[in-house]
Symmetry: C2
């Protein structure tokens, strides 16, 4: 593999001159610049970013830990994040934890060893101490930990919006399927907002939690099936992701339960498919694009040592998107 | 930040001993090993993987270039690939090209500069020469280029299965929406297989190509809308991804076209959601899990210098999954 010395020899200039061309520093005539570029091309010279990163103490790499990139919400989030990062010269190291504590810990060790400049954490099973002793910039998604900046959407309000919508549509036997409430995630506030709000209407929902792996479709189907078999009276259901809502649609189709006539359904996230399917899914829209842009902006500021005056909690607004899985208003007004 | 020398001093051993513990080489007593580990923990020592990778000329990083990780097919593919890679100690650098030639070229330069050990390419707009002069292990997904190993599923057969299914279901005015056929992708063989096969039944399908950005939902909707407005006679439609099929469902719901009674629909990929929605989508299943495992196995072999005897073309079988968007058999038998 060609070195900077080979390039200098081929171009008939000094190594310092080649280095100046590479780093765009100092005065270089166009003729010299062209000679150096030509030599680089002929030798297929590639500046070694690893060696450079050792020198400047920056790897320009960010670690991204998500439960699973196969989930469309995290897929969109990672896409948007990578778009912002690459525009600023950062690369993304992708990690899927599957909410497995050992895997999450291994990834953090790996990312530290690889000298990533910062970590964006969207998976939260490990102990708070691991975060605090990380010793490098970190932004969490949906989890508040001491002095670590956190990006989330307004989960509590999402739950409130879902409760008010189902109540206004006339639902009286209401259920809710959510992730594992033992995990310390801000997403749990969806459940709090939903339950608090329904109680104002004198309604007490059935709350069903998913297990440790909240991203296992087979478990979703089983949980949805049991709920609807054991509680055929349920006429309103709020689930904590659109992916779970699609499973509800499948189970209802098999059981002959009509949506929205017999069961009104609200999802969470508003991934694009929710608009395209029939019936279109009523859901709580998270501003994925804004959340990923904000997470990148914060980590970049932290890396550049400018994060001291940043707020620690960044909560973005959510809104309810009404489609066909909840019916025309009017029953109760 | 603690160095290996600090660890040695704290543990009261030599630097060589610490290095042996780190690399699991040579005889080390359990007592010594524990002393070293304790010192590392107390000093929060992290071995510097970047410096190590410079020494052993391996970065243990793979570049993954996909059109967009926000597309559930590529999301699942990346998830599965990362699972295999991380089990073998490899990290994945994620790149979304959005099928933009300049972005694709920038990523390849970036990955070369970062000394990734290999590249898995699932986005193909750039010139063949760029691949051949890459000078490092590469596996392509869905594109055959000279001596570069390629993983794909049997795209031609996918088209044949879709054609035979629609013909057997009695469709007589058949249309097909596919990606841009100018891109040199094996996916184009879906269209070839579909058209060739229908001609055997004396049928000539309308073929509509998407533009350069085959992953833009707004374009999908517009293309589907125009097709169904200009050709209300169409009674069978095969589209080259499940994501496009969902858009067809949305447009049909808006136009009052009943699926499958008036229009029978077949997608491609079989992402999980296709099973959950109503009506369930008849589609051609790509073996995503097997494809990603194979791609990783090949790149690992190439990196280890064992790729010489590998076949260049790895074509995995597809199958048709019949659900409710195509109707009960019988009209033509």
């Amino acid at each position: 593999m060609a070195t900077i010395k080979d390039v200098a020899e081929k171009a008939g200039v000094t190594v310092t001159t080649v280095s100046r061309v590479l780093n765009n520093r100092g005065y270089i005539s166009d003729a010299t610049r062209n000679k150096v570029r030509l030599a680089m091309e002929e030798l297929q010279y590639q500046p070694n970013e690893i060696a450079r990163s050792l020198m400047r103490k920056r790897s320009m790499m960010l670690g991204l830990i998500v439960p699973t990139i196969a989930h469309p919400f995290f897929g969109q989030w990672a896409y948007s994040l990578e778009t912002h990062a690459s525009a600023r010269g950062y690369k993304i190291l992708l990690c899927n934890s599957r909410l497995d504590e050992a895997k999450e810990k291994d990834y953090i060790d790996m990312l530290k060893s690889n000298r990533v400049d910062g970590i964006i954490m969207g998976s939260h099973t490990i102990d708070v101490r691991e975060y605090i002793h990380l010793g490098k910039p970190i932004v969490t998604f949906d989890r508040r930990i001491e002095a670590i900046p956190c990006v989330s959407s307004d989960n509590y309000q999402g739950g409130v919006l879902a409760a008010e919508h189902l109540a206004a549509k006339g639902c009286r036997s209401i259920a809710h399927i959510c992730g594992n409430l033992k995990l310390d995630m801000l997403g749990n506030r969806r459940t709090e907002g939903f339950v608090d709000s329904l109680r104002k209407y004198g309604l007490e929902p059935i709350v069903v939690q998913l297990g440790a792996d909240a991203f296992d479709p087979a478990e979703h189907e089983q949980v949805v099936g049991s709920l609807l078999s054991e509680h055929p009276e349920v006429d309103g259901l709020f689930v904590s992701s659109d992916m779970i809502a699609y499973q509800v649609m499948k189970v209802c189709a098999a059981k002959g339960i009509r949506i929205p006539e017999q069961l009104q359904l609200i999802g969470y996230d508003d991934i694009p498919i929710s608009e395209w399917i029939t019936p279109g899914l009523t859901t709580i829209k998270q501003p994925i694009e804004e959340m990923s842009r904000l997470a990148f902006n914060i980590i970049e500021k932290l890396i550049e040592g400018e994060g001291a005056e940043l707020p620690l909690e960044h909560v973005l607004p959510v809104r309810l998107i009404e489609r066909q899985t909840t019916r025309q208003p009017g029953l109760l007004g």
